[in-house]
């Protein structure tokens, strides 16, 4: 009985001593900062983040948040976490190797970490305020209103509705993938496909503050200090950076036999859902419906021909005029049948 009591007391004392060496707060139990913690959610962004940070010029070339908040931002709540052990886990949120002598920082932001914020960009509002038409050499709209034979302007590509402020023709091939319909299975087995788009098939998308701050740095809401104006806390996710397309074969910069650009209509002529959209995440389908394609591609070898072939041999024939094999073998959607 005495031995048993001694063992219990010894284990209890050992546990008590060990507990003293355990991390003291949640901040010590992970090597990264979370914006989503209950305490952090109560704080205003500006209580930690300074806009711009002192290193903006060499880091970005424009006034930006280019650095982690300083120690002061953390110290008011986490003072004790700075002094736990030789290398406190708390410090690894920002420092690659935290020692009293040197503490190099991760590049900001840390690209390898999951994102905690989603961006809300209302295209509808921007269409209202920036929508413009750059006129050049007479009336562009007349020059671009073409049907059967395509003509283009001799100068550079049109930049209708100022969409090109944010979306330029890509010069480097982005990561891309087909976007098969969700919840469906292909009718037949996918055939091989060695289709390879080039960079000019795609348009760029702004990343970072550079484009937004051109207008929103100060004065025009949401301004640079109003982080919540664009950033919404969301469950952590990793940005794949993959551009997914139903019609991977669509080439924004396609040219005809004469070398003239063919897709020279206003961006909104095809992207019809954009001008009414307040948040891209709410778009369920492609922002370019098939009917937008059909206004030109209604001749032989296009949709009708493919639908006929598909009807003759549903399993053997895969639509390939617009789609790669990853999409072309799925059942024909009602939107296509209606055309």
């Amino acid at each position: 009985m005495r031995i048993r009591t001694a063992i219990v007391i010894t284990v209890f004392i050992a546990a008590a001593i060990a507990a003293n060496f355990l991390p003291r707060s949640a901040a010590q139990q992970r090597d990264r900062f979370s914006h989503a913690s209950a305490a952090h959610k109560k704080l205003d962004c500006s209580s930690c983040h300074k806009v711009p940070t002192s290193n903006w010029l060499p880091a970005r070339g424009f006034p930006d948040v280019a650095q982690f908040p300083g120690h002061v931002a953390c110290a008011s709540c986490h003072r004790q976490d700075f002094f736990v052990g030789n290398k406190p886990a708390f410090c690894a949120g920002c420092h690659t190797n935290a020692t009293p002598r040197s503490a190099p920082l991760f590049p900001f932001p840390v690209r390898s970490r999951s994102h905690e914020f989603a961006i809300v960009f209302p295209h509808s509002v921007h269409q209202d305020i920036i929508a413009g038409e750059q006129r050049r050499r007479g009336d562009v709209a007349v020059a671009h209103f073409v049907n059967a034979s395509f003509r283009t302007l001799p100068d550079d590509e049109p930049k209708f509705n100022n969409c090109a402020i944010c979306h330029a023709t890509a010069t480097a091939l982005p990561k891309f993938a087909a976007r098969p319909p969700v919840g469906q299975t292909p009718v037949g087995e996918a055939a091989g496909d060695n289709f390879a788009p080039t960079a000019r098939f795609f348009k760029t998308m702004p990343s970072g503050h550079a484009t937004c701050f051109e207008c929103h740095y100060q004065g025009l809401e949401p301004v640079a200090t109003n982080c919540a104006g664009c950033h919404r806390l969301t469950p952590p996710y990793f940005e794949s950076g993959v551009v997914k397309r139903y019609s991977l074969k669509f080439d924004h910069s396609a040219v005809n036999d004469k070398g003239d650009l063919v897709h020279t209509r206003d961006c909104m002529t095809c992207h019809v859902r954009i001008s009414g959209n307040g948040d891209l995440k709410t778009l369920k389908d492609a922002d370019v419906p098939i009917m937008a394609c059909m206004s030109c591609h209604n001749h032989a070898a296009d949709l009708k021909t493919e639908l006929d072939k598909r009807a003759e041999a549903p399993k053997a024939f895969q639509c390939n005029y617009c789609h790669t094999a990853a999409v072309g073998g799925f059942p024909v959607p009602p939107s296509h049948e209606k055309q």
């Binding site: 740095y217 209509r265 909104m268 009917m291």
Partner: protein, 256 residues
């Protein structure tokens, strides 16, 4: 047993997607004013369920609404004639509509002042003063017109939520509305909707507001054109409000 069957039926009704019928509407932005064709490029339209009668309260508010014209707004904000001319030259409503060139910055006093302010602020990176010029414009000139117009539209709507909104493009001059949920009343194949621009479009010396009925069905694309009735006449199935635009004449804003 009956209860079980009823439960299963309710469950099936809840999980089986109803084949919702949808329609397409094309609003033609090409109009004829005094025999001349005008193109309503990049103009916003709103779609409402129901026709003129069903939206009577909204139409009444539209009839009574007084929007401030672009010229008058900037006139009241004491914008320089050069600034107003810069906007008018490309039918712009705000300085975000097109690029502000170095030539513009030298000619338009407001741009010149914003540039000078930016050059002081961004002394470390002078190119930002030109690239970010609008961030140093006076608020009322920057987004004042947009904000006052948005406020006026919100007042007009008075909580009514449009079914959809869309803009005309600058090439085909059409606003396309798709995926419009259509629920025709018994015995009909189409449903009545109302399409309106709510805020007046300025063409020449007049402003125009349309509220037009359109029948939308699931099997055929509906096309709605915008009539401009002769003075004293009414357009079919449309309320068209045509008003003279007051002009800024240095003394204030007056109707000529």
């Amino acid at each position: 047993m009956l209860l079980l069957r009823l439960t299963i039926l309710l469950f099936l009704l809840a999980v089986i997607p109803v084949d919702a019928q949808t329609g397409v509407l094309e609003v033609n932005g090409r109009i004829k004013v005094d025999g001349k064709q005008e193109r309503l490029k990049r103009k916003r339209f709103y779609l409402f369920r129901g026709g003129l009668a069903a939206n009577k309260a909204l139409i009444d508010r539209m009839r009574a609404a007084e929007f401030v014209s672009r010229d008058c707004f900037y006139c009241r904000m004491n914008a320089s004639p050069e600034f107003r001319a810069w906007l008018k030259a490309e039918d712009c409503e705000s300085p975000f509509c097109r690029e502000i060139t170095a030539e513009d910055a030298a000619k338009v006093p407001e741009f010149k002042a914003a540039l000078a302010k930016g050059q002081r602020q961004f002394a470390k990176k002078p190119t930002l003063a030109t690239g970010w010029l609008t961030t140093n414009l006076a608020p009322e000139l920057r987004d004042g017109f947009y904000l006052q117009r948005k406020k006026a539209i919100d007042g007009l709507l008075a909580g009514v939520k449009p079914l959809q909104t869309g803009m005309t493009d600058s090439v085909s001059i059409k606003a396309i509305f798709i995926d419009i949920p259509v629920a025709p009343p018994a015995g009909k194949t189409s449903e009545t909707f109302l399409v309106s621009n709510l805020a007046p479009f300025e063409i020449g010396s007049k402003s125009y507001v349309w509220a037009c009925e359109v029948e939308i069905s699931a099997d055929k694309r509906a096309v709605r054109s915008l009539p401009v009735p002769e003075p004293g006449k009414r357009a079919d199935k449309c309320e068209v409000f045509v008003r003279d635009i007051p002009a800024c004449d240095g003394q204030g804003c007056t109707v000529k």
